[in-house]
Symmetry: C2
């Protein structure tokens, strides 16, 4: 474990909540934004936790993240709805969409909310645990049509974002929490490796001429390369196909996409909730999922030191530890937070301890 | 092009239709089964075309594919329904589910039908074209809980089937038709390479000890290996995650899965239809998708001889050619069909010509 300073989860959430309120968000929106960011930190997704608080506060200051007014309900019909998010905080919009889709799923079996002009929605895994524990299957996907870093399979030009999809799956115990992207890795992960001077675990990138590379340095400079679709050089048509699914669903259903040339940092989002109670019942769903988990967990590992891990289970174990012992925050993130603490007059949280 | 004998698509469909009728299916079911199989052939998915007619006829003969009676509607609530397929022909059940889900999607925005105890559903791409041309987004996924060939990421034991998902996406012209699996390749493709004595294009398999391999021979013998999840050795947690999504949805929602130890050749199936008219309209959906296609098609290719291809576009071009000039059928498939032709007293179709 690192020697980063540790903070109580509630204290840290209250601190972020205060920053967002002073920056102009009302209390309920600030609370959701703070909670979703800190959830990413406690799950171990540190690039998408409080690391994003500074950038979001800058967007609020610049007015490119909207603080006031409501999203517009463009269309609402039975099991589905379209919202225009007006670049309101994406964390709050997404949480509201999960709740609205849940109500629809209870009535219709499934509920789908798509959002255009959401601001950035953070770490997709952050939304999954509570619905999955409640017995709901939740899928969240998003695309930022103002950015591109991933090519078509066999192409050189960046066309897509890494295009994440997160899925929360109820089980007999800890839920399965999948946070998958259509590309071999994300921009944030590649940047982390680059900053550490490390190579990636595989040839997940290509340089501008299309040569496969594990060097995150090929993504920067005058003639940057791209992040390969999932499957890499030899079966990247799989990730390319997944990207096409996620890009067309989010942009085609929400009505805002790359053809509209948006320049704001933002997202077109799809939230789908399925209620197993409207099928064969949540107990049956949990029984089937628990058996699949058992098959995985009792599987002979390729490497005896690395048993098979279910997506989200390490993160949930980490969360339990951090909730008990405090969550570490890296100095690079603390220095950003100190700057905003001073600027907005919100005192820094008390350190809980060092590990 | 091969020197296989070529047949008129309609003639071939009528022939298969007659075989299925003599084997006990009523006229409408036989017609759908014949049409869906021949569609796979004209799209180039030869392992899942008429190659399956013989095995299906054997199943009808043995009674392990049910010919008579209807599927049971276990639950039908608003946008969703659960069917018990009673091992009726999967091609017919799936086509019926697409139609039922479409009616629900028109009313509710989305429609979802899950089926337990379907018989094998053939080539998932075969169902996509007509709905996509009608402006509907169709997703089909299935799992055969009686089979396993793919391990968890990092594990050695076969747990999952290759777990396909097919998605048909309306565009401005030819639809995007994705037929993706959660594993690097399928059992049928690996067998084709093995029969030809070829290696696979990548290290997509592992032997029983967990060593990566491109040799399809590792899947057979006393101590067989497994097909790696999409992403292979270095990022196979992506395919593993996709497998968990597809396995839990199909089995958990339909109520039949691996825990029930089914032994019939069959499938737990999920069919989801989304109607863009209930969101921002199908014209808007097509506009967004057409732009993404243009970005892909105008992308600089890595290899000038291989421009970027959209999923399904080569298959649809092949279909146009085969509809005009006849569809080639390999001798190995013809010899199976001759056997059933003799046995059931259905004359073989007239050859249209050789290319």
């Amino acid at each position: 474990m690192s020697d980063d300073q540790r903070y109580d989860v509630g204290t840290l959430t209250n601190f972020a909540n205060s920053l967002f309120q002073v920056a102009g968000l009302d209390a309920s929106r600030a609370e959701v934004c703070a909670r979703v960011l800190v959830e990413a930190d406690v799950l171990g997704h540190v690039t998408h936790g409080l690391n994003l608080a500074g950038p979001y506060l800058r967007e609020l200051e610049a007015g490119t993240m909207t603080a006031d007014g409501d999203h517009e309900v463009v269309r609402d019909k039975a099991a589905v709805a379209v919202w225009d998010g007006r670049y309101l905080p994406g964390l709050w919009l997404t949480q509201a969409a999960v709740e609205a889709a849940t109500l629809k799923a209870r009535d219709y079996g499934t509920g789908t909310i798509v959002i255009r002009r959401s601001h950035h929605i953070g770490c997709l895994a952050s939304y999954l645990e509570a619905p999955a524990r409640d017995g709901l299957v939740l899928e969240i996907s998003c695309v930022d049509p103002s950015l591109a870093a991933v090519p078509a399979h066999g192409g050189l030009n960046a066309i897509f974002t890494p295009d994440p999809i997160a899925v929360g799956i109820p089980t007999g115990g800890d839920p399965i929490m999948i946070d998958l992207s259509a590309s071999t890795t994300s921009m944030g992960t590649a940047a982390l490796y680059r900053e550490r001077g490390d190579k990636l675990p595989g040839a997940w990138l290509q340089d501008a001429e299309g040569t496969a590379s594990n060097d995150p340095g090929v993504l920067v400079g005058d003639n940057p390369g791209t992040i390969l679709p999932t499957g890499g050089m030899d079966h990247g048509y799989k990730g390319f196909s997944l990207a096409l699914i996620l890009e067309t669903f989010t942009q085609g259903l929400s009505g805002l996409g790359r053809i509209d040339n948006p320049t704001n940092w933002g997202a077109s989002v799809q939230v789908r909730v399925t209620d197993p109670e409207c099928f064969c019942g949540v107990n049956e769903f949990r029984r089937q999922a628990a058996h699949l988990i058992e098959l995985c967990q009792t599987s002979t590992p390729r490497d005896a030191a690395n048993p098979v891990r279910l997506p989200g289970h390490s993160a949930l174990a980490r969360k339990r530890q951090y909730v008990a012992d405090g969550v570490p925050v890296a100095e690079g993130i603390l220095s950003q937070l100190r700057e905003w603490s001073g600027k907005l007059g919100v005192p820094m949280p008390e350190v809980e301890g060092r590990p």
